[in-house]
């Protein structure tokens, strides 16, 4: 008799999830990302061979050779196992680079937007100077200073991506900081720190999440490029870009050594780009067509 139907409004997060699940590109992207994450995490368990173990008598085996589904490289190492460990490295690169970029970018953007004045002017001038370097050139400059290594490549990629987050967040903060809820909390005695990071920042995160997703894909590509130039991962690391670089001399006789690491990179980056595009469509209804 007293059965009242309780209809709970979905939270914004649930709404976004629902919209995302209807977006084919986003779902496809998410599946690809999940796949690579899984392969990366489980690499030590599922890789058929040791990615560093050389078998000189079994060099350059073509794909579908017994025990070597994707063939072996010029030192007789199993391609599949190296690619799986490569997934692990690429995921780590993506997370660390974007972590550095987003962490610093948020901090810079929120403070510049909220504090304003001379602080804002100086910080944004520095950001402009960073933007005066074409992106890949800036990563090269930073690695050249720090010295070539995979970790330094991640730092370089992270630092080079800071300007986008800083600008994005600063713009959102400028739009948000005069909003009623901020004024209300300020009049209730909220400290500037709590206003910046607890009240305003969460409302600026939608565009940041899109940028971060696309940023992971770009970080994987940039790290491959830096490794290719000898400025990132060093041999014998099974990093995809490095694998492509060291395959250059085999384009005439061992196509698989060239092709597979590139395909792996392409697929992983595609996953992040698909998901990022989908996320943008969902979060920004204006762009939905």
């Amino acid at each position: 008799m007293n059965d009242t139907l309780i209809v709970k409004d979905p939270t914004p997060f649930q709404e976004i999830l629902h919209e995302l699940s209807k977006n084919k590109a986003a779902v496809a992207g998410l599946i690809i990302i999940a796949l690579f994450l899984l392969i990366g995490i489980l690499a030590p368990l599922i890789a058929p061979k040791d990615p560093f173990a050389q078998e000189i008598s079994l060099r350059k085996l073509p794909p579908f050779s017994p025990g070597y589904i994707l063939g072996s490289d010029d030192l007789g190492r199993d391609m599949l196992s190296r690619l799986m460990y490569g997934a692990r490295i690429s995921m780590i690169i993506g997370v660390i680079s974007v972590g550095i970029a987003m962490g610093s970018g948020l901090l810079i953007g929120v403070t510049a937007g909220y504090i304003g004045g001379w602080y804002d002017r100086i910080v944004m001038r520095l950001i402009d100077i960073m933007l005066a370097f074409p992106y890949i050139l800036l990563t090269i400059v930073i690695v050249a200073v720090l010295g070539p290594s995979l970790f330094n490549a991640m730092v370089a990629i992270g630092v080079s991506q800071i300007p986008r987050y800083a600008r994005l967040v600063r713009a959102s903060v400028l739009a948000e900081k005069e909003a009623d809820y901020v004024t209300a909390e300020r009049s209730l005695g909220a400290s500037p720190l709590s206003l910046m990071f607890l009240s305003i920042l969460p409302n600026c995160l939608a565009p940041v999440s899109v940028q971060a997703t696309l940023g992971v894909g770009e970080a994987i590509l940039s790290s491959a490029a830096l490794s290719f130039l000898g400025l990132g991962a060093q041999p014998p690391t099974p990093e995809w870009g490095l694998m492509i670089a060291s395959s250059r001399e085999f384009i005439t006789n061992a196509w698989w050594i060239v092709t597979f690491p590139g395909l792996a990179t392409l697929l992983a980056v595609l996953g992040f780009n698909l998901f990022g595009d989908g996320l943008r469509d969902v979060l920004d209804p204006k762009l939905r067509e």
Partner: protein, 338 residues
Amino acid sequence: MLSYILKRIGLLIPTLLGVITLVFFMISLSPGDPARVMLGERASAEQLEKLREDLGLDRPLHQQYFSYLSRIVRLDFGKSITTGRPVIEEIGQLFPATMELAFFAMLLASGLGIIIGVVSATKRNTPLDYASMIGALFGVSMPVFWLGLVLIMIFSVGLDLLPTGGRMNIRLYMETFTNFYIIDALIALFRKGDITYLGSALKHLILPAAALGTIPLAIIARTTRSSMLEVLKQDYIKTARAAGIPEGKIIFRYALKNALLPIITVIGIQFGLLLSGAILTETIFAWPGIGKWIYHSISARDYPAVQGGIIIISTVFVVINLLVDILYSVVNPRVRLS
């Protein structure tokens, strides 16, 4: 208008000063003794001393900085450690090769990109549209240097159709006037009636231009599509359709014209980025331009060359971006007021 342009040019100076400062500190911030890093472990004490003196590394940092600044302003980038020639001379000689490659890559990317974008927008939500947009997504997700290798593997090694690298068949000797090989080959064609030079130069251009142009192609196609869709929604297009104007005329004369602004902006920005993208493409295709030269300078730790190259490329990049902004404000006066 003029005050807007002057203001933008004024902002250029502190930015370039920042670029030069950052590039200067590249050397002094790097760990270890730069002279030792550049000359390697086996260099003698005299050689190290000589290089330190040549580069002014024996002086206090602030003196080094101001003398560096005053030299850069006079376009003196020092001498390359590996070749001993002035850096600015080397760059001047290699610049045409990079510009030629970038120009043709952009020509390919804009031509194809605009066509694909227009077709996608007019055939919206058809298999053709989906295929184009998925293709564009692949284009931006691909490591360009890998694409270059795959292209070489297919078209040079496999089909033996196109050369693997270089700008021209090394057995052909062509008189160069401009170092833009296509222009020089055209001159040879008109003077001697010999088309072999032009053929060879074009054949060498195809693969590197395709590889370098892939990302801009994808981005231009996506921008063209969304810009066209935006315009095709407008009332005046509906009116034109109602008036019975042929669809082809509506799309190319009325819609594309108004959709061009964001497309031109993207083309400009991408052109600036191409110059740095050329580092990878030129290395793969043994294209003797600034990109390959910077790569070799980095490997050889030839700091004066790397610094000079980075400053020049960044300056070109900033200036192109400025020109794009100015062009945009000329066409769209609202930008100036904000």
